[in-house]
Amino acid sequence: MINKFRPDVMESLDVVWSGASIAIGGFGSSGRPDALLNALCDLDRRDLHVIVNNVGHDFTGVGRLVMEGRVRRVTASFPILQEFYDAYFAGKIELELIPQGTLAERLRAGGSGIAAFFTPSGAGTMLADGSFPLSYRDHEVATRLSAKETREINGRPHVLEQGIIADFGFAKAQKADPKGNLRFHLSARNFNPVAAMSGRTTFAEVEQLVEAGDIGPDDVHLAGVFVDHVVMTAAPEPANLSGTMEKSVL
């Protein structure tokens, strides 16, 4: 019988290598796969390329990876964390900044065998014209994001964006069954399905393991075919996170 449940997060995640690219779900701390991210730190992986919407507002989640110097490049739309920017301007991390919708679509495209697509988002801007600083050295621009191919379609300029196939996908879900079928809760869904699709090998951390059949065929949010390994979150989510919410005020 197919059973994607893995009892030990650390053992399961040991296949992730230093230098890997990892697509990570979550929007801020909502739906962020913290158990996987912490395990990655505990396993001492380094030189990572993380593809994620936000780096975070504190030293948890991707913020911890950044603070511990484990990240070589971030592909994101809204990093937030000041310490991330400090590392960026200091030349320690590259930032591939892309529009949020482009990020979501690039992850979906990569996971869907779509090599590239034309979108109007960002056409003609600094994020498409080759001027945005990808990296700094001594607080001077060292390299810039490559200019993106632009084409007029239906009378409007569009930029060509590449699908992202990540070495690994990290998702956080509410529930999983042994086939890897996932169900998310409210807006914690966000980037998790597309991060899972983008990964060559995908890990899902979940709050609840259920029996096969407990998630009805019409109630599956992400089909198990996109998921390779299911682990439990380190701790169940507290019912009320108002304390955390206060901290997340920008």
């Binding site: 929007f27 900044l97 801007t125 994020l127 945005f132 409210l186 807006s187 914690a188 998790n192 009320n240």
Partner: protein
């Protein structure tokens, strides 16, 4: 055209809340709307009771409601600013790719955004101040995909310099995307790449607007 910064102190137009209130009047019953940070966040407070406006949040909510009240926050239900929200009856959740399919595909009616600058042809700058921390979020998708992009902003910045400009000097979010501008002093429409002054705020004269506006525009006031 130069801007008379001194004159700014002598004219009092709409408050930030009043800008949001004025914009809210123009939202049509049944619209689906995305609200950016800043003044736009006040818009829901001023929607007329007889209109149902559905709010979209980039992180995948359609039918977003207000803060649920202290102690009722759900970490799995936050808006695009990571703040706790509630859902209206009939709300739907989508993933981020579908959320931006809605945005890019033109399925929203209006996007309401703040701005650093708007040019006289409707270019918008609102994502990045060079030298500060760069972040873009969904702004470029929202302006590229939504048929109506309404800006709410102060007419001039803290130094008294017009935010309505001949050409944007800050990095651009989208070109020729803004369709309306609501400021403390006036309401402008952008039609076919031309800026039209449609309305002055109560107590503000067309001359007051002219003195504080660097962009070229045509007066086309509602009667």
């Amino acid at each position: 055209m130069t801007v008379n910064a001194v004159a700014a102190a002598t004219v009092i137009g709409r408050s930030r809340d009043d800008i949001a209130r004025r914009l809210a009047e123009d939202l049509v019953d049944g619209y689906t709307v995305n609200l950016g940070v800043g003044i736009p966040l006040a818009v829901p407070n001023f929607l007329p009771d007889d209109r149902e406006i559905s709010l979209h949040a980039e992180n995948g909510i359609l039918g977003m409601g207000p803060h649920p009240g202290f102690g009722l926050e759900d970490p799995d239900l936050t808006d695009a600013g990571k703040q706790p929200v509630s859902l209206k009856v009939g709300a739907a959740i989508v993933d981020s790719a579908t959320s931006f399919a809605i945005v890019r595909g033109g399925h929203l009616d209006v996007t309401v955004l703040g701005a650093l600058q708007v040019s006289e042809v409707g270019d918008l700058s609102n994502w990045y101040v060079p030298g500060r921390n760069p972040a873009v979020g969904g702004a470029m998708d929202l302006v590229a995909g939504t048929p109506e992009v309404w800006v709410c902003m102060e007419h001039v910045d803290r130094k008294g310099i017009s935010k309505l400009v001949p050409q944007c000097t800050f990095p651009v979010t989208g070109f020729r995307v803004v369709t309306r501008i609501y400021t403390d002093l006036a309401v402008f429409y952008v039609v076919d790449g031309r800026l039209l002054l449609k309305e002055c705020a109560p107590g503000v004269s067309p001359a007051d607007v002219r003195n504080r506006t660097a962009a070229a525009y045509t007066e086309d006031l509602f009667l």
